[in-house]
Amino acid sequence: MTTIKKLSKDSRPVKRRRLGTLLLEIFLSLVALIQLFPLIWMLFFSLKTNEELFGANVVGLPWGLEWENYSRVFADGNIGRYLINSTIIALVTILATGFLSAMAAFAVTRMKWRLSKAVYVVFLMGMMVPVHATLLPLFITLKPVLNTYWALIIPYIGFALPLSFLVLSGYCSAIPRELEESACLDGANIYQIFGVITVPLIRPALATVSILTYLSSWNELMFAITFVNREIYKTVPFGIMSMEGRYATKWGPIGAGLVVATIPTIILYVMLSEQIQSSLAAGALKG
């Protein structure tokens, strides 16, 4: 290793190398600032008074902490309602998608039947379909359930399934046959093999698809503004959009609303940043 180091970049004078590293770090920090500053600014203005926001202190740190913005947005906005709605919809979507796609992935990759390849290809093609292409037909088909949670849960499951299925299939097909065979010798039936052997083994992949499904359902906008318009069923994205109308001249509460709406995702990201990044990378590779 020492020879390798000596032969490599160390041929440059030490001073120049230090300067290079310094410039690089300044560059990287600048990019970090650009990526973060709008979000930090959002936090700032959620804690400012109207006086600060409209002239006195637009860009800088808040002078005092105007927590009233937060109590206000909770008291007369519906932000709590939106958060509950988004949580319910995301949870049901994640559970149903995970369950349905795990079963399908198991049957397609582990069991022996003629059409398994065909089913795989069908799901694969499903990845290519943009939501736009189904918007109007779904709007017509879902008429009976429009303005309920189902109006969003059902299409979210449908659109989360293909990716979830592909990620889980990749994992399932790597499970050694011997595990299933020995379970079979012990007298397990096919449902027990699925529940006791396969599901525990693909738990990491289930975590991955849960994250992907959470992000897509939590942030989805086009279906959310089309299939729901009653205030009590709005999800966070649509709710935030309608807040703009209500508080047009009060940025403080809007900022507070934006911060509150971002917090669940940020908490999740802080706890699971590595897992979330690798999930999205894995999801992209399947796409």
Binding site: L136, I254, L280
Partner: protein
Amino acid sequence: MEKLLRDKRAIVLFVLPGLLFFVVIILVPLVQTGYYSLLSWDGITAPSFIGLNNYAKLFTDSATKFGAAIGHSLILAGMSVFLQLPIALVLALVLASGVRGEKFYRTVYFIPVIVSTVIIGQLWMKIYHPSYGMLNTLLRSTGLENLAQPWLAQKETALAATFIPMIWQYIGYHMLLLYTAAKSVSSDIYEAARVDGATDRQVAAYITLPQIVPMLKTCVIFAVIGSLKSFDLIYILTKGGPSQATEVPATLMYSNIFTKYAYGYGSAMAVFIIVECLLLTVLIQRLFPSDPN
């Protein structure tokens, strides 16, 4: 064992629920959209079959400005490929070469990707606000007040002002994909290069870059397809305005269906978006050198 794995009833039980969802939510609506696109229909009165007239109208009816909308989405695609991707690539290569704080930077750059587009949109609306926005305030305080302007409300700047947040938001996504690819290059190759006396920059240009071409292709496809399908941020920021200066195919489709009740015409736009995406995916696949593996 064999008998268990060929259990027809179990297979049906496992596959059918998921497949049913898929067929009802994606496949059938897809076919329906194709059929609607051949109709003249307002959703209330009886539809009439008009063949390919809607498609002809897309390109002959100058009032719709569909051509301009396609143009806008192609500009966005161009900006994504020639602005967003190079930035992401540089960041990915720098981070993958092992700088101090690698993990921190990667985590920070990625944050905008996971934040909801609506939040991002509301935020940038405040940044661009003509009187109290961050951008104009900064311009005024640095003596550049004649540059301060209503960024989203005038035709000349609206398009760029809408696209910049979109580019900004997804830099981290492409950075992550390219970084992951660069990291998966075998370390033996790097060491061999070091033994041969290669510098950091040479390693990046001659070793890492060729190895991540397949991922670069994936990124180009994502960037282009994402641009052609773009809707959310434009809908939030401008809804296609002012006077259609920021209209893209998806916003036109949305307003034709849900405000003008032109179900058939809007569906033709949806079909156009799908076909356009498929064609460009194939084209990009062809343009890139094929995977050596």
